[in-house]
């Protein structure tokens, strides 16, 4: 067994049989037989069962598993941070190189922060909203070191600079809500590293972040880990992240460890069935959508009907600001977007958070008012309808939300929820007919009839999302907009939902607009892709071409930022790092809006045209569908590092 799975570079780790009671020098974290139970003693929820873990100095150990498998609870139990009511037991434990069992509560408290730093999942809720960022870091420093405030401040500013916060002197005085998601996570890391702890426990440190920011944060953790020779326990459900940074992997399922070993071995030759399933359901950047069966020999052209067309669509939000409310800021959330989606086809819409994906989706289904341009769905031009007529039209286009929980009325039974749109649109005459349709719908999304009498809270996240889809299907729409509809789900369930969507598309010929920040998922489901940046489409075209030969430097950067679960290819890849966050859409940069972060521009020696003229979304000379909005899109191919796209082209490339 590869239980202690040490990495060869660390000397001394071979001495596995160290004398009992004496702790090996580079052993930072060890636990044997960790058990955690919640709830009543006679009917406990056993969240963690007999988990063993080891982390040594200088290595990154990834703890992976689906939601609810007990990853977070294990880490919190080791740190003594579980809420009251949790019952923890362990046979043997070492924390930050010291015997945990021998520690008093007070000693354990002092180990936290000083010798074991922690980064939590959600950087917004994990920072105190009414305390300045700087003060929170100063606190972390002064809790463990007797130094003056001024000295601590200097150190805190240095930490902020170290984690890459621009202008740390000034940012020190900001509050959490003034930071972007990525900056908050950096601040969290700065805080966790305040006392240069030998052990870092990072619980899903990048889950809520965009791929570009995720890449920055992972780089940062890796860099700091090497610099300080820390041991890192990285909790994640993302096998791509694992492939990128972890030395060893521990896989958990339902509170138990099911497999452990070297990262390369686990990702390429998993032995446990659960791990195998996990890897199989992982959407991959290099696996494209299966060609639609129905299309057959029919050429992609004039023959195909158009399900959705937008022309010059624009949504501008005006906000009054300033002292007397006279200053008006205009935010162009969607700017001059022209898209086409064929009947029975899927358009993937990708981009960083805040780029206008959701607003565009809402404008398409007439939930946000377009300030210019048109939406045409199934040949009907929309816009300016009276409420009644719009309601009638709505049956042709539906929206499925990101959060299945929030969009279902918690007090209505599923049957009622599905019947409601039918009754509203007076579709299937009598009650009996409606009932039958509900059963049909449930079967369509792969749920049994018995679900009709259940309440939303009795369903799992994946089942709830199926209900959301069934509700959208009830009216037999020709177009469904799916806004991050699978983002909150585990990969296995995500894979089921994606398969369901594909099946429904083939059977019913529905067109999808699939909004997601996850490029691998989009690759799996989309026929065409549009990439958005600051409200504009910067690249669009057939999915295959976009992933294999991106023509816009932003797309290339996005693709290069997605980590993949293949150690060899992942680590051989060169990376384009985008610095910072996207600029504010209220005040977009001049010329090409991407020029402030564009790597291609700097490789070309900062040509002036990028800052003065806005590039149009133009095609290649051969007149294909693949368009990009970049003055130099034809020069990109030669300047791309050759290994960069290895991940998206698959083994054949």
């Amino acid at each position: 067994m590869n239980r202690n799975g040490s990495i060869p570079a660390v000397p001394g780790s071979a001495a596995g049989a160290a004398t009992a009671g004496e702790i090996e020098r580079d052993l930072l974290l060890r636990v044997r037989g960790l058990n955690v139970a919640f709830g009543p003693a006679d009917d406990p929820v056993r969240a963690v069962r007999g988990v063993d873990l080891d982390v040594r100095a200088g290595e990154v150990v990834a703890l992976v598993g689906e939601s609810g498998s007990g990853k977070t609870v294990s880490a919190l139990a080791l740190l003594g941070l579980l809420p009251a009511g949790a019952r923890v037991s362990m046979d043997e434990a070492v924390l930050a190189g010291e015997d945990r069992a021998a520690m008093s509560e007070e000693e354990l408290r002092l180990v936290r922060g000083a010798r074991a730093g922690t980064v939590f999942q959600d950087p917004l809720s994990s920072l105190n909203p009414v305390q300045r960022i700087g003060d929170q870091i100063v606190e972390a420093i002064r809790l463990h070191r007797r130094i003056g405030t001024r000295e601590a401040r200097r150190l805190a500013v240095a930490r902020l600079a170290q984690v890459g916060i621009p202008d740390p002197q000034r940012r020190f005085r900001d509050y959490p809500h003034q930071f972007s998601g990525g900056m908050r996570q950096r601040a969290m890391i700065a805080m966790a590293l305040a006392s240069a702890p030998p052990l870092l426990i990072a619980d899903e440190p990048t889950t809520a972040l965009d791929v570009t920011v995720q890449a920055q944060i992972l780089d940062l953790i890796q860099e700091l880990q090497r610099e300080l020779s820390m041991g890192v326990l990285l909790i994640t459900h993302d096998l791509g992240v694992v492939g990128r940074v972890a030395d060893r992997v521990v896989v958990m399922n339902r509170g138990e460890v099911v497999e452990r070993g070297e990262t390369a071995q686990i990702l390429s030759r998993p032995s446990d069935p659960y791990t195998i399933r996990l890897l199989e359901s992982l959407p991959r950047l290099d696996v494209a959508k299966r060609a639609p069966a129905a299309a057959g020999g029919e050429p992609d052209g004039a023959a195909r009907k158009v399900a959705l067309e937008t022309a010059g669509l624009e949504v501008v939000f005006s906000r009054r600001g300033g002292a007397i409310g006279r200053k008006v800021t205009n935010v162009r959330a969607v700017d001059d977007v022209s898209l086409t989606v064929g009947a029975g086809r899927t358009l993937g819409l990708v981009g960083e958070s805040g780029c206008g994906k959701t607003t565009l989706g809402r404008a398409i289904v007439q939930l946000a008012d377009a300030t210019a341009g048109q939406v045409t769905i199934g040949g009907t031009r929309l816009g300016g309808e009276r409420a009644r007529r719009l309601r009638d039209l709505r049956r042709h286009f539906q929206l499925v939300f990101q959060d299945p929980q929030a969009s279902l009325d918690p007090r209505q039974r599923i049957g009622r929820i599905l019947e409601e749109p039918l009754a509203l649109h007076d579709l299937c005459g009598g009650r009996e007919q409606r009932r039958r349709r509900v059963v049909e719908l449930l079967e369509l999304v792969g749920l049994g009839t018995e679900f009709a009498t259940r309440l939303p809270h009795e369903l799992s996240g994946g089942q709830r999302q199926r209900i959301g889809i069934a509700r959208a299907l009830a009216l037999e729409p020709s177009l469904i907009v799916l806004d991050e509809s699978v983002s909150a789900l585990d990969v296995a369930i995500q894979a089921q939902i994606l398969a369901l969507l594909e099946r429904l598309q083939q059977e019913l010929g529905i067109a999808y607009v699939f909004i997601s920040h996850d490029l691998a998922v989009v690759r799996q489901i989309a026929d065409t892709v549009a990439v958005m940046y600051l409200g504009r489409v910067v690249e669009s075209g057939p999915s295959e071409q976009i992933y294999r030969e991106p023509r816009h430097p932003y797309t290339a950067a996005l693709l290069s930022a997605v980590p993949i679960a293949d150690v060899a290819r992942e680590r051989a890849r060169e990376r384009i790092v985008l610095h910072g966050d996207p600029p504010s859409p209220a005040d977009p940069p001049s010329g090409c809006a991407f020029h402030t972060r564009c790597w291609l521009r700097s490789r070309l020696g900062d040509p002036e045209i990028c800052t003065t003229a806005r590039p149009a979304l133009g095609g290649r000379a051969d007149g294909g569908q693949h368009r990009a909005a970049c003055h130099f899109s034809d020069r990109q191919a030669e300047l791309l590092p050759p290994s960069l796209l290895g991940a998206t082209r698959g083994a054949s490339a």
């Binding site: 941070l81 936290r112 959600d122 909203p129 606190e139």
Partner: protein
């Protein structure tokens, strides 16, 4: 921020206008003749109609309202025919007593509610059971009865509280008046004997007012504290190695008390209303008794004045708490600038 204040001031003016209108209409809609009430049933019809002319209540309603609003605009709140003084003079003399009572009660309520609420949010279950029982009792008791019980216990039996008459003993010299608040004035004058005496008079009525509010607020503080403790930043603080005391005072309390601030503003208005009743029990020379008698006498001006005052206090207190909220919560402070 500036526009916010301007808008709120305008809103306050509108509230005051409607309050004045409602007060005016309601009083005149009530049956009875104020001049007859004032002079008594024996007075001659002639004397009554002469007084009616003097008071101006014989003129058309619209005209009366015009004069009233016109006077208001110049800051003249009118004349009380019952006490034969201007309303402004009565208010200046009596309002500080009521304000001092209400403010002290507010302070006591917060001082009781915060520790009790925080402690009952803690892990010791019995504290919570105890404080919940106390809260139910405190909220359920009629206020005048609570006042009487306090007098009975602390004055009649234990003899440690002064007699429930007024704000200060006759034997003690009043401090020179600057704010009208005895505690403040005596401190300014450096007169600690007067301060102590005034305080001892204040304690029981203030407690009477404060206890129900404290009972209510302690439950809110408890809820709010429990909610805050569930937040991830509390876990972050612990993960940094902060002690439980530090977690409480540095991270949990500042967040837990934010909602209490708005509530306190709302409840100050209630306190002022409650004060009117408690003043009667303790013979407190505030505006309570004066308003009650004026209502009975159908003395229009003082009642109208009191209603306006109530609306004003309510608006001002709410404005102040909103502004304070903006100051203490950076999310709001930095969003409005």
């Amino acid at each position: 921020m500036a526009s916010f204040v301007v808008r709120r001031v305008l809103a306050t003016l509108a509230v005051l206008f409607f309050a004045s209108l409602i007060a005016f209409v309601l009083l005149r809609a009530a049956p009875g003749d104020p001049a007859r009430k004032l002079l008594g049933p024996q007075a001659s019809e002639q004397a009554v109609s002469a007084l009616r002319a003097d008071m101006g209540v014989d003129r058309p309603l619209l005209q009366q309202y015009g004069t009233y609003v016109g006077d208001l605009a110049t800051g003249d709140l009118g004349y009380s025919w019952r006490t034969r003084t201007t309303v402004t003079a009565e208010l200046t003399a009596r309002l500080p007593a009521t304000l001092e009572l209400a403010m002290t009660a507010m302070a006591i309520a917060l001082l009781l509610a915060i520790p009790i609420g925080v402690l009952s949010a803690g892990r010791r279950r019995w504290v919570d059971r105890f404080s919940r029982a106390g809260a139910i009792v405190g909220l359920g008791m009629p206020q005048f009865w609570l006042g009487l019980v306090l007098i009975l216990v602390f004055f009649t039996w234990l003899g440690i509280a002064p007699a429930p008459f007024g704000r200060i003993d006759d034997t003690v010299a009043m401090p020179a008046r600057t704010t009208g608040l005895l505690l403040v004035d005596s401190l300014i004058a450096g007169d600690f004997a007067a301060f102590g005496n005034a305080l001892s008079h204040l304690v029981l009525p203030a407690l009477t007012l404060a206890i129900p509010l404290a009972a209510y607020l302690s439950r809110i503080v408890r809820r709010s504290t429990i909610d805050v403790y569930r937040n991830d930043y509390v876990r972050t603080a612990r993960a940094k190695g902060a002690s439980e005391t530090r977690v409480l005072f540095r991270h949990a309390l500042p967040n837990a008390l934010l909602p209490i601030l708005t509530l306190s503003g709302m409840w100050f208005g209630e306190l002022m209303a409650g004060a009117l009743l408690v003043e009667a029990v303790f013979n407190w020379p505030g505006i309570g008794g004066w308003v009650a008698q004026s209502i009975q006498a159908q003395d229009y001006a003082p009642v109208q004045g009191a209603i306006l005052l109530g609306a004003l206090v309510y608006s001002v207190v709410n404005l102040v708490t909103d502004l304070l909220y903006g100051v203490v919560d950076p999310r709001i402070r930095l969003a409005t600038t």
